[in-house]
Amino acid sequence: MALSGVEIFKYLPKTNCKKCGHPTCLAFAMKLAAKQASLDSCPDASDDAKKVLGEASAPPIRGITLGTGDKAVKVGEEICLFRHEKKFFNPNIFAVAIKASEAGAEAAKKIEAVKASEIDRVGQKLRVDAIAVTDEGGDAAKFASVVKQVVDGAPGVPVILVSKNPAVIEAGIVHCADKKPLIYAATAENADAMAKIAKAKKASLAVSADGLDALTALSEKVKALGVDDLVLDSGARKAKDMIEHYTIIRRAAIKKNFKPLGYPIISFAGRDNTVAETMVAAIGTMKYASIIILNSVEKWKMLALLSLRQNIYTDPQVPMQVAQNVYKVGDAKPNSPLLITTNFSLSYFIVRGEVENSKVPSWLAVMDNEGLSVLTAWAAGKFTASKIAQFITDSGVDKNVSHKELIIPGYVAILSGALEEKLPGWKITVGPREANQLPTFLKGRG
């Protein structure tokens, strides 16, 4: 049974020492109740508190960190099934598989691809997150050599060690033992040996079984052997099985607080056909996979998958924002009309689309209002006359346009007077309230 913030608060030291990073114990308790913090952050929690709160304050899906340093990635700690309910917190990671047989030149090519994979998208830096060294045929020495090649070639990139043979894992993990790798995988046959390695090397351990019942039993077994950082593989490889298994795992964890399945999911999307692989990986991204292993990471493929991940993991409460700028729509000339709107991305996309539809080339000034829509931004004091005036003055728009007329959204018609005062020499024109009236408005200006 989940405890409320206030109930949790009763067990905290109430010293407001801020060591947990929160201003007060009450604030920390609220974060714990919202499953957005872990009791581990409180250095002074009593044993009593740990006992009572341990279970209640543990996130329904355990957070697992792969790697160390600035390229470390955390997955798990999700709390909902649908992104609109709250949000998806820790983006899934994409890892490329390097087979032992690819040791040498092939592996080097993939390592380079990973290193060169970083792209900048809407202000975020995105890249291939990890490398999965994959055993074939149980050649421990060869496997170890590829692990070493990866660790040396792509320093800091988290490593996943893929083999069901404990001897192979043991040989490979030597090269990344202190770097928090993920071992894949413990099975019913090798669980004891794998758990022993994971414990000794403080590695995370994936458990792999055929189907959800077997997975539940294995997860419990490995946990009982003393490994806490687990990752789940139910054996699903077909898109349909993936959606079904992953949904059941997520539901059991979040809605039933079913601990044996309260871990991140690892998904093998590998296909011979790279487009098919892209689409299956897309399904995994949307449907609860946390670690997705790919056979290849072509630039175009990663652009598509990373964009999808960014879309899906966007906080629905924080609308995606467009960078503040004066955008050229169509073949705008110095005498083309100049419109202004806020940087709420939906406002921007719709306004831009309607301006395009009008076929009247225009300049679209997009002002940073923290992604609020026009009316909300105005009411919050973020789209006021002086802020617009300041933006127009600082934007350097006079380099683009030869006239001094600014079209403002109809919703803030109230600002036109004050704007003309604050932008001497400018004519302020009130545009339509709704974007779909823009084509008529723009064309009507002749």
Binding site: T216, K256, A282, N311, I312
Partner: protein, 312 residues
Amino acid sequence: MALTIPKETYSGKIYNVQVGTGAKAVTIGGASALPYLGFEGTFPHRPAVALEIMDIAPDDWPETVKKAVGGVASSPVQWAKFCQQNGADMVALRLMGTHPDQKNKSAEEAAKTAAEVAAAIDIPLIILGSGQAEKDSQVIQAAAAATRGKNCAIGKALEENYKTMAAAAMANDHKLIAMSQLDVNLAKQLNILLTQMGFDKERIIMDPMSSALGYGLEYTYSVMERIRLAALMQNDPMMQTPVVCDIGANVWKVKETMAPESEVSEWGSLEDRALAWEAVTASAMIASGADMLIMRHPGAAAKVKELISELM
């Protein structure tokens, strides 16, 4: 601890809607659970994949997709046949030439094209206006009359023109695509308005307004999830119509489907990237409940059909 499969109990189900006639008619809808959760519901019909054609040459489509439809695009009839031969479940004819800013073709011209296309194929036909609400009312009325008996899906009915659009569908026994602007509440409102004027709710196909990967895709995705949740969990009769996603027009105007590798080397091959852009956008729509997709690239459509097979 033994796992008890946490199943949802759904009280609603998506309507079955048939488009087209004869042996090649296609039924969509019918789902009784959230997308592809076979352990708690059934999915009697595959999502249908329509390929888009136009009544004018696709001059403003990016090269990659223009090349993929080959040299047939100058004739709507040839183009439609090409789609049928290339695995499309349906053909979607967009009467873009009627737009006042395009060729401003008359409703009669458009109707003639629609009739010719309908006669040339035996798979179902979707007939869409140019998106100009006022002109579409006339164009679709004429096109609907000219294709009477073909059981097409016509659209798009918008808040501004739904009355004439619905009348055209009713008078000529077509199905109606009703589009609202990316808002679950407005989607419900439009369906209420349609049923209030006597239009059968089981003849509506809902278009939540699509968006392209990287360009607000998450809005469409969540609106679709919420539509499906309301339909199934709340048993909301206004949300139980099948959903169509008109993605081609959105996908093939973003930079990712147009910029050559020489301009953006970090984005990789344009051909692969552009095809993947439409395919991944489609995957997201499928995963969130699309019953029908309108796409442009035959190669991407083929890949989407493979994914659908894997999901069924």
